[in-house]
Each structure stands twice: as C-alpha cells, then as structure tokens.
Symmetry: C2
Amino acid sequence: MSRPEARLGTHLPVSPPTLADVAERAGVSRQTVSNAVNNPDLLRPGTLERVREAIEEMGYSPNRAARNLRTRTSQLIGLRVSPVQEGTANAMMDRFVHTLVETSALAGHHVLLFTGDDEDPVAGYDNLLRSTAVDAFVVTDTYLGNPQAAWLAQQRAPFVAFGRPWDRADARHPWVDVDGAAGTRLATEHLIAKGHTRIAWIGWRKDSPIGEDRRAGWLTTMHEHGLPTTGLASRVEDTVQSGGEAAAVLLDESAPTAFVCASDTLAMGVLHTLWLRQLAPGRDIAVVGFDDSQVAQVYPVGLTSVRQPLEEVAVQIVTALHALLSHQPPAEDGVLLTPTLVVRQSS
Amino acid sequence: MSRPEARLGTHLPVSPPTLADVAERAGVSRQTVSNAVNNPDLLRPGTLERVREAIEEMGYSPNRAARNLRTRTSQLIGLRVSPVQEGTANAMMDRFVHTLVETSALAGHHVLLFTGDDEDPVAGYDNLLRSTAVDAFVVTDTYLGNPQAAWLAQQRAPFVAFGRPWDRADARHPWVDVDGAAGTRLATEHLIAKGHTRIAWIGWRKDSPIGEDRRAGWLTTMHEHGLPTTGLASRVEDTVQSGGEAAAVLLDESAPTAFVCASDTLAMGVLHTLWLRQLAPGRDIAVVGFDDSQVAQVYPVGLTSVRQPLEEVAVQIVTALHALLSHQPPAEDGVLLTPTLVVRQSS
DNA sequence: GCGTCCCCCTTGATCGTTCCAAGCACGGGC
DNA sequence: GCCCGTGCTTGGAACGATCAAGGGGGACGC
C-alpha cells in the first residue's frame, strides 16, 4: 500500500518517503531498512548495498518525530540564551555557542535555544523537560543564587553546567569551568616578568564568586613574589565607566604601573583613563583584561587579555553530556580548564 | 491500564504523565483532555475545570514527539550559525538571535541551531528538511552567490531570508532587510549638517551588493548636496588594518574632514589612524561606523554608528514565517526597514 | 537423509498524540 | 410522551519509526 500523493506528479510538496516506501522499493521489510540505517552490521553486504541504493534514490531520511517518539529521545540539547547586555564587552558567548553547536553535531545532537522568564527562571526548563522536547540542558549562567542548577539536579534532569557549583548546597552535578585564578595568575606573572612591582587589581563586587576567584589569582601571585597589594585593589561594577574611575583613583593614590582587570570591560575603562591622561598603554602603564573579547582584538592598542578556552569547554561539555545520556557513571564531577594569555601591545 | 512505573515510589526518573493518565484521573476520555489543551471552547465549563485541575495536579505537558508525529509539525525554526570570524566587530548577531528566539517563543516556536559544511552549504538544510526536523528556516547570510536561498526556494521549503535576494535569478521568496543606503544617507546628512563638506567613504570591494548599497547612500546624498566625491572613496577588505590604511591614504591625498564607513570594523581602523596622528575623533575629524557593534559602544571615544533595527527585523521575520506556515498568501515579498543613527562623540 | 544451529530477515505491537466518525445525552417542539 | 437536532464525548485508526519475537533457509555434523 503506497501513499497516493507520492505517485501523483503534483506541484504540491509531496510528503517525504517513509521507511515502508524504501522497504517496498528495495524488496525488504521495514525493519531491515531500519537496521541498514542504525545497525548496518546486521545485514548481509548485498542486502545492505541494495537498501542503501534505494535510500539514496528516494532521498530517504528518517522522520525525526517518529524516531523521537519511539526512542524517547529528541537528540536536542537545550541552551537558554540570556538577554543581551549592551555596553558590556562580552560577545564571548558567540564563540562558545558556535563550538557547542559544531561539537554536538558530531555527536548527533542539535542545539535548541530558548529564553527564560526573568521572574521564573525555571519555567523554560520545566516546559521543555516535561514535554520531553530536549534530552539535556547546558546551563551557562551559574552565578551564585541562580536556582537553575539546583532545580535541575533535584529534578534529576540531565545537564552539564558551564561554571562550578559555588554554592555547597547545590546537589552534585557535572560541570566544566575555566580556572579564573590561573588566568589572573598568568597575567600577574607576565607583568612581574616585565619588571612591574606595583600591580593593581580592578575587580567586581565581593558577592561574585567568579570575581573573587579571579582576584585570588592576582593576590596569591603577588604575595608569592613578596609584592605589595595594600591599596592596590578596587571593587566596582562591571562597566567601562566604573573601570575608568577606579583606574583614576588608583593612579592618584597608589601609583601602580600595571593593571590586572576582572574583565575586558573594566580594562577598556582603564585604557580610557590612560587616554585622557596622555599615558601610552604598554609603554607607560600596562593593562591586562579578561575574556579576550572582540574589543580587545579590535581596539587600536591591542589589549592583552586572558583567553578562556571556550572551544575546549564546549568539547568537554559535549563529552560529559554524552556520558550522562549513555548512563555511564561520570569519572569525576567537574573539569577545570586552564586559560591562556594573549599578549598584545597593552602590556 | 495505568503504567506501573508511575505508581512505584522509585528513585528512578518516572516517565511523565500521558494524555491517558490525565483522562483517567479526570474521568474523561483522551480526546476530551486533548480538546481541553487545544480547543478549550469545545468543553463544558465544568468539564474544562476538572480536566485542568487534573493536568495541573499531575504536571502534564503534551509529549512533543507524539504531537509532532501526528501533526507533521515540529514547532522548530532552523537557523544556521556561521563560523565566528575573530577580529571583525560583528557581534551583531547576538542581538538578532536573542530577539528571534524571544519572538518565536511568543508564536510557539523554538529555534534550532545547526552548522553548515562550508563545502556543501546546503547539506545541513537538506538533512533537517528531509527528516522533517524543522518547520522552516531563517536564512541570514544572503550574500551574492550564496546558493541557499535559491535552493530552498526550489525545494519549496518554507523560509524567510534576512537580506534581499540580490540575484535576480533567485526565485521569489519572503525576505526582511535593512535599508543600508538609507543608513549611510542618515550618516552623511548628519555630517553635512555638522558643516562637513569633504566626506570620505571607506567601503568594501565591488562584488558585495550590500557594500554597494551602503556606498550608494553616501554617493547620492553627496551629489544631492552638490558635494565632491572624486578621490574620496576607497574600497578595501573588511579589516581594522585595511580601514586604517585607507584612512591614511585618504587623509594624505584628499584631506577629508569626515569618514563614513561600511562597517564598525573599518571605522575602528580609521580611529586607529587618527590616534597615531594625534587627531581627536569628533573634534578634528568625524567618523561614522555601521552596525553599532559593541566596540562602538565600549570604545573610549564613543563611535557614532548606523544601528540596524535587529529587533524589528526579528519580529518581521517571525510574522512572515507565521504567515508562511499558515499558508496565507503573503501580502508582499519583502519588508525593508530603516536603520537609525546613534550619535556619539566621534562625530 | 535428517536434525540442529545460526544467521538473516520478517511480522506484529508499541510510543503518545490528534483526526475521524459514530454514540449518547439533553432539551425543545408537537 | 415521543421524536429529532445540537453538541459534548467516545472509541478506533493513523502518523513513522523501533523493539521484541518469530520464522525460513543454508551449512554442517552424524
């Protein structure tokens, strides 16, 4: 029994061929075609060849919905996109998302984007989860107090976080993160090697664990080298203006010769202050940022910056997801990757 | 017959409730529950209330795969993400993608990301299309010679393009685009109003229709005001370095007092040259970019730039997609939106 | 020649939802 | 009290794939 519309030479879009259509053409059963696609080893070479030809000729591709229904799998990975913050320099997600999409494709998965209600951050996850629309999630914004990771863990939903669980109360779950302290350590040691001794820190407010982590890298490295840190640290909002103001105050009060910043955004503020004071970045005062964002690369005076290995992060996340979905017990909860330092003219 | 695992108080993830489970609980049939979800008007208020309570209590959400299979619909919109180009300033896609995701969500759709083989740009589309994994596509990179739009049109696949069909050979299809010429016209008239008469153009090579469109806006506006253009235009690669070099040459040979650029990337190059020559952007020489990228906003001397209404583009695209999927004959093929000018210190 | 085993393939059932057509209850009209 | 139309509700079928068994044929050993 072949479907009528596939026969008619109509101009209407014909429905794509099904497993049964291919089976009929190849003179085998449905299951054999299915095996040809999913378990080629089970077929005799001759049969396999014949089925493959039929598949090729008819342009057959398995219907996703039917397969999803039967296997209780969607081959989709959910990723929540958070609102765009204009004015900050972190166009960093682009790089991550692209690699994630590419890597997942290799593992046979696609990436599904969804937005979150800001009032109910969990709603988006809940919907997709209950309707079995996605197999797993990638959670990116794991700042302290974000309930998503804990909620997902409690629901026993498969997910991997980009970011460590800062809160001890969070149930254990797989995560991949970048060692921020190692990054600022790289930056600080680079500056020390260049002969700097008065190296200032401009970071975020104290309630950001990520910020504190990055600050610790600077602090311990300075201490290890017996260098002073008192009066050389400042905590501000993550904006260009705040960074500039902090740099101005530090320059006036503590006379640093170099700045390590918790973000490229803050570093841009520092560069702005240097510009106003006719100081040449890299020659008079060194500046190092964090994230290696596009501004760092495009800015006339290239900004030295700590670069997160986002490509590797994506690969590790997909690996962890794959293990999770295969129900393999994870070897370890988390993976901590080390960033690199991209040296440009500003240092 | 209720599923056993839903009864057991096991720690294993229980499969979510189905339509039948809800029906049993509410004391109605499957179809009634389905109607309560999809056509509430068909139910008597009392029944509707009862079913809704059951749905709420059990946390029911329709299984996506089953629904997709039956309705031959996936509620997914495919979007190809192109490789990240480091060094260019176009973090512009972020804004677009986010609005697209948000707007589609309102229409009940999700966004599926996929990558394309660079060698076979059509492969990714073909796979998703044949496996009925997506309902429609949004095509973003519609540069001349890109076969995707034409191929999709030929396949009668539903899609909306962000970008005009520059090639007349392309079959007709819905599109949404931003009027680049109107943008550079805004920029040029802004500079003329500021008293500039020697306004230079730095754009892309001739084979880019988008670049030619933007160039035309500058050219016609200059002509309309009886201003000179000879020796004031240059065409280069879209890199910071090329923009800087072009600016240097133009400054030496034609003494312009203002620059209109085809991109923020090129404008950054111009700013760099000004920096090297100790010229103050905005006071000595005016500069206008295109795209209002993050560098334009973060750069110490704010860069005046043409801003594309990406949010509106996304809304229009979703509207067109909705019409397309409802088989409503589109009122018109394309929608052309007008950009705005964000004036900052550089002009 | 016959039974046994194994490999390769086929058949029927199933996933959870929506479509279809028939069933039943309720109420009005006579 | 009976008939009939309207409207909510119902069981059966279908979407297209995979899972779980069942069956047929050839090779091999006795």
